[in-house]
């Protein structure tokens, strides 16, 4: 089922506000989780909203992407709350959340997942600069980004995760808000993706419509462009890190702050091995390393940390790019992860965040598989 959301006062954002308000006023839905411009500031942060009057501060279409909200939705849903929440997420946030559901760190039971054609995001540092230098109104932003399809916005960089994203269109949701391939001057569209979603859309009693003809063509086109950018990015980063000495150089500014891990929505351990005593070395250990090699850089275990994280979670990497955003040393962690994730995901024929019944590859096995890697002849 597909319904139409009209513009309100010539504004897409206000049109969406109306839609969200109607959702929140429904008896079945107790709260809405979506990006909101906070009071007395210009910061846009994901927020849990219960008062319909607050919806007018919601900013569903912006280049702000302070964190992957998949992790926040996991906090809202890992136990029952007795309340139904509709959550508005980007595609990579939904995929991250689905991965967390597989690890029993979240549940869809009390949620209505609303996907939206991704409005792209600036890198966190560029977003801050952009906001200081007369940013576009919410609507002007989306019009510009959808019509021009540039890799930058008024000179500010979109996250390379967004420019190389092969899945900017959410799947496996209860409903999706469609913007691409839709004549926006005429409003937006919402497509149901599940029975629960359909029921809600039906009870809203809004004007029904059908899939615009142009949609499929536009979707394929965007995927192709991004996929091409992705290939180029992977080729480039692989060349930059294809030996241990190059890898050492790539990560040499790493200060072991673990921000990339903390912001990674699929780095799921409650307690990370890198926070344990295993890495609280004896002082003599550092001396031994130094004596063996003439010098040892501190902090130690940086490349080790990144390689271990690659081994532990690259199969689940949804490519949101928040690891690069989180890095205070400006290391492009994301590109290394994406390039390795591509390899490991192909090796295990695994697509993270698509199907919640597809188990994480390292949690299962078949008796007869990968027999070619066994043995020394």
């Amino acid at each position: 089922m597909m319904i139409k959301i009209e513009q309100e006062d010539n504004s897409l954002t206000k049109g969406l506000h109306q839609f969200f308000k109607r959702l929140l006023e429904m008896q079945e839905i107790d709260a809405l989780f979506l990006p909101v411009r906070l009071k007395d500031s210009s910061s846009i942060m994901p927020s849990l909203v219960t008062d319909p009057a607050q919806i007018e501060n919601a900013v569903p279409l912006s280049p702000a992407f302070p964190l992957n909200s998949g992790r926040m939705v996991s906090r809202l849903s890992y136990k029952e709350s007795g309340r139904k929440t509709a959550v508005l997420l980007r595609s990579c946030e939904i995929r991250a959340f689905i991965e967390l559901i597989k690890l029993k760190q979240g549940s869809r039971q009390e949620l209505i997942l609303i996907g939206i054609d991704c409005p792209k995001a600036l890198t966190l540092s560029d977003y801050t600069a952009y906001m200081e230098k007369d940013p576009l109104e919410d609507d002007a932003y989306i019009q510009k980004v959808f019509s021009e399809k540039n890799e930058t916005l008024n000179g500010f960089n979109f996250s390379s995760a967004c420019n190389t994203c092969e899945n900017p269109f959410p799947v496996n949701t209860d409903m999706n808000i469609l913007l691409h391939g839709v004549d926006l001057s005429n409003g937006m569209m919402v497509e149901s993706g599940s029975e629960a979603g359909q029921k809600i859309l039906e009870s809203l009693n809004m004007q029904q419509t059908s899939m615009p003809e142009k949609r499929e063509e536009v979707v394929t086109q965007i995927k192709e462009v991004n996929s091409k950018a992705n290939e180029a990015m992977i080729e480039d980063i692989t060349e930059k890190t294809d030996s241990i000495s190059k890898l050492n150089a790539f990560f040499d500014r790493c200060i072991n702050c673990y921000n990339c891990r903390n912001m990674c929505p699929v780095c799921y351990c409650k307690e990370c091995v890198f926070n344990t005593d295993v890495f609280y070395h004896q002082p003599v250990q550092y001396h031994q390393w130094a004596e063996k090699n003439g010098l040892v850089k501190l902090p130690t275990d940086t490349v080790f940390y990144h390689l271990t994280r690659l081994a532990h979670i690259s199969h689940a990497c949804v490519g949101c790019g928040q690891c690069s955003n989180a890095c205070p040393s400006d290391i492009n962690v994301f590109e290394v992860f994406k390039s390795v994730a591509q390899t490991t995901q192909v090796a295990f024929e695994y697509s993270p965040g698509i199907d919640e019944n597809d188990p994480p590859p390292l949690s299962v096995f078949n008796e007869r598989e990968f027999e070619d890697i066994v043995g020394i002849k």
């Binding site: 091995v273 690659l310 066994v374």
Partner: protein, 140 residues
């Protein structure tokens, strides 16, 4: 410069391959001393980071060896190990650590002779590959 003596770290499971090594010893068979055995209870407990750490600190080869499929003392630890080795074999070559430096075998408790033979073969093959780049360029 002398001949290249590689460092090979072998994670062997308590129930099969370690027992085979023990049998090789009591049978007075010899195998290259370049191979350092680390006994673990099961290959299923070898976290990828153990392997990564060995390579980053300069190991020229890493072997994981456990019970034959179906013989695992803990039912299925060796199957899990196989997936992890598959994973590492995808990741490590991307950063210049060749696929063949990381090996996986199944050596049963009664295969003392086979154990000594396989270790000799592994040592020869690693010598042929030459030193690992992490030997000169440690990533601590």
């Amino acid at each position: 410069m002398g001949t290249f003596e590689p460092v090979i770290v072998a994670f062997v499971c308590n129930w099969c391959t370690y027992t085979a090594a023990d049998l090789a010893g009591t049978s007075r068979l010899s195998y290259p001393t370049n191979i350092r055995l680390i006994r673990v209870m099961c290959t299923g407990m070898v976290d990828p980071q153990y392997v990564i750490k060995a390579f980053l600190e300069g190991a020229d080869g890493v072997l994981i060896s456990g019970c034959h499929p179906g013989d695992c003392h803990y039912i299925n630890g060796n199957y899990k190990a196989r997936r992890r080795i598959k994973l590492l074999k995808e990741i490590l070559p991307r950063f210049g650590i060749e696929k063949d430096r990381l090996r996986l075998t199944w050596i049963g408790a009664s295969d003392g002779i086979e154990f000594a033979e396989i270790m000799t073969r592994l040592n020869d093959q690693i010598i042929e590959m030459g030193p690992s780049q992490t030997r000169l360029n440690k990533a601590i």
